[in-house]
Structures are given as C-alpha cells and as structure tokens.
Amino acid sequence: MWKWLHPYAEPQRAYRLAGKFVPWLSVIAILMLLTGTIWGMVFSPTDYQQGDSYRIIFVHVPAASMSMMAYVSMAIAAFIGLVWQLKMADWMAASIAPVGAVITFIALVTGSTWGKPMWGTWWVWDARLTSELVLLFLYLGVISLYASFEDKVLAARAAGILSIVGVINIPIIKYSVDWWNSLHQSSIKMTGKTAMPPDMLIPLVINILGFGVMIAALSLIRFRSEVLARNGMRPWVRELALAQGAK
C-alpha cells in the first residue's frame, strides 16, 4: 500500500516540508541583512585607505562568497538526484540556479563599481572578478539548458549533469585564472589582507550569513512552485489550484 502511494506522497511531503521552513528562513534572512547592512553602512568606522568606498564590501563580499556556495549546493543536490534518482533533488538544483545567477551578477556589478574609485576603471581583469564572470557563464549555461528541454523531468536531469561537470571544473578554472592573472600581473591589486577591525568584520560576517539564509529561503520558495508546476496533473495540486482560483 505504501509503495503504491509512494510516488504520489513524496512531492506533496517535500512541498509541505519546504513550506514549514520558508517563513523562518525569510524572517531570519531579513533580520540579519537589516542588522548587518545598517551596522556596516552607518556604524562601522571609515577605512583609512579607501575612505567610505569600502562600504561596498558589505554587499560585494557576501554575494561573491555565497555565489560559489550556491553553485556547490546546486551541484550537491544534482548529484543526489543523479545517484539516488530523486526527482525532488533535481528540481531543488534547478531552483537554486536562478538565485545563484542573480547573486553572481550582484557580485560582479558591485565588484566593478568598487573598482572604479579604487583602480580608476570599471573593469579590471582581476583574478577574482574573472572567476566570478566565468561562474556567471556556468550558471547561465545551467539555466538555459534547463529552459531548452520541453520535458522538465529530463531538463532537470540534464541541468544536473551539467552542474556536476561545472563543479568539478570550478577549482581548475579558478586555479588557471589565478595563474594567468599572476602571469600578466597588472600594477593594480586589490587591498592587501590586513586584519579587519571587529566593527567591520562582524557586520560583514552577519551579512554573509544573511545572504546564505536568503538564498536558502528563495530557493525553497522556487522549489515549491517547481513541485507544483511539475505535478499539475495530480489531484492535490488540482485542489490547491482550484482553491486559489476560487479566492
């Protein structure tokens, strides 16, 4: 009996479970981002070298570090989906991709606007920015591959394979870009690694974590919609849809 119900019950359970997490994660993310950003923008001391332009760090660094994390979690979800043939995991991976792409885009734009006052130019082939650009391409590849398949069960599997291939390549790409950058060393370097005063570091860490929680919340919301869209022919989704229409 359970086996008979199994394929039906699973998406529904995943949908409900995700629904339980979403409000908590959203509230935590909003609180953290508010705290970290206000602290960083208003209360953190001005940097003696870069002046107030360094305040871009409170959005740039969280976006940059979490963009990589999001890719890795997407690949992990895809791997689970591939090995244990779990469609839920495939859809989770597909839901993370657009979120990660936007975060990567933010990291790129803020990095380049930070570069203008620091380096005097909007774009520098700095190793970190270049890696971030490649990461954006990898995300866009996953997203457009997913969009290109009409059958979304297949789409999720194909995108999953691509993200696993991508995650194996990320360290290699990063290493090669670093090597390339040191080969063609330009005179401009990002600020050296000096110890950060706690008044800068704490809000930065809060914002990094806040970005992580926000990505999780957004991915789960997307995942829920994805489950509904893929199970449109199932009675429980039909009921939800008709109830929504009646409202």
Partner: protein, 215 residues
C-alpha cells in the same frame, strides 16, 4: 497461451509515464513470459512507443520499475542488454554505409563476432543489394536491413516498434513466422503495429491495450 514451464522474462511494475504534463499511463503492471507474443495496442498518442522505450530501458519511467528476471534493469543492465533486441522507429541504419556494412557493424556492436552477412541478408531478400549504399535503398529494403538482425541473434526479448512499416505482405508473413518460431524456442516478442497480423492467431497473441487519456 503460455506453456506451464515458461519463465517470466520481463515484468513491468507500477509503471507511470508522464509526457509534457500529461499522464500517458499510470500504475501499469504486467509480466511477459517466454513464449509470449505481445501486441501493444492503442490509438496515436496513447504511449505505445513510450512504453516500449521504457521496457527497453531507453527511457526512465516517471515512477515504477521494469524487471528482467526479477531484478531491476537499471541494476543488471549489461545482462539485460545482452538478452534484448530492440528496434525502434528509427532503424539504426547508416545511409553512408552499404547494407552489408550496416549489418556487420550492428551485429558487432551487439557483441557477435562470427557471422556471414551475405547469408543473413539473403534471408531478408536483400541478395544482390549487399553492396548498395543504404541511402540508395528503398524504404522497405532499408527497413529489412535493420530487421536482418532478427535472423542472427540469441537474445530472448525482442521489442519491436512498428516492425512491419514499409514491409510487403510476403515480408510480414515471414516475420510473423519468425516470431512464432522465436516464441516457441523460449523467447518473447513485444510489438506495436497498426497492421493486422495474419498468421499469428488471436489465441496466440496477447494484447495489452493503452487508452488515450486526457488528464
């Protein structure tokens, strides 16, 4: 009409297939035993080809499993592939190669290493066309180049999607005779066809019907 000592070769367990958000079939289960000749029936779009591809292991069902000798085909794929002969809509015949070369490569890829291509081709009435490029053959000859493999195989499970397309009456009769001989020797045949089969009697033929579903 299965013999009492027949063995279950292939079984479908609660197969569900969803294509473009439409359920083609849901919770479909059946066993196919040695000696069976099974015809999958149903209107266009009912999912006959999808079912055959799932049975052959080319497609993964949305839910459910296909078992070969009571073990999932995803687990013993190599043994299953050795015991399977699948011919789809697409014949797997290269138009740049001659009929003989096509047969040679197809059989080699299936693992056979000793055979006489000309002899096999003569069984599908392609004597004299061995050296013709498949691209220059007629539709029927093209199809027969693919079907020639049926005359040189020890796979027990045959899954054939519309094997009679472009085949003349005499060819169909020969194929049907081959099916009966294969089933009597402990094999099984699963086909879809829109043509009526003349030689295989209705008692001998097992039918699985798929309906077109709107939801």
């Amino acid at each position: 009409m299965t013999k009492p000592d027949s063995e279950t070769l292939l079984s479908a367990k609660n197969l569900t297939c969803i294509r473009e958000e439409r359920i083609l079939f849901d919770e479909l289960s059946f066993d196919i035993c040695s000696g069976d000749i099974v015809q999958i029936e149903g209107p266009n779009g009912a999912g006959k080809t999808s079912l055959l591809r799932i049975l052959a292991g080319l497609s993964r069902p949305y839910a459910g499993d296909v078992c070969y000798l009571n073990d999932s085909i995803s687990r013993n794929r190599d043994e299953f592939n050795e015991d399977l002969l699948y011919l789809g809509h697409l014949a797997g015949v290269k138009s740049e190669l001659t009929a003989e070369e096509n047969l040679y490569f197809n059989l080699r890829v299936s693992g056979y290493n000793e055979f006489d291509q000309r002899d096999i081709l003569s069984k599908v009435n392609l004597t004299g066309f061995e050296d013709a490029l498949a691209g220059h053959l007629s539709a029927g000859q093209h199809r027969r180049t693919a079907l020639a493999r049926l005359w040189h195989t020890n796979s027990r499970i045959w899954i054939l999607d519309e094997p009679f397309t472009a085949i003349d009456k005499r060819g169909v009769a020969e194929l049907e005779a081959l099916f009966i001989q294969h089933a009597d020797n402990g094999g099984c045949v699963i086909v879809t066809t829109h043509q009526d089969m003349g030689i295989i009697s209705n008692e001998r033929l097992r039918k699985i019907r798929l309906e077109y579903r709107f939801v």
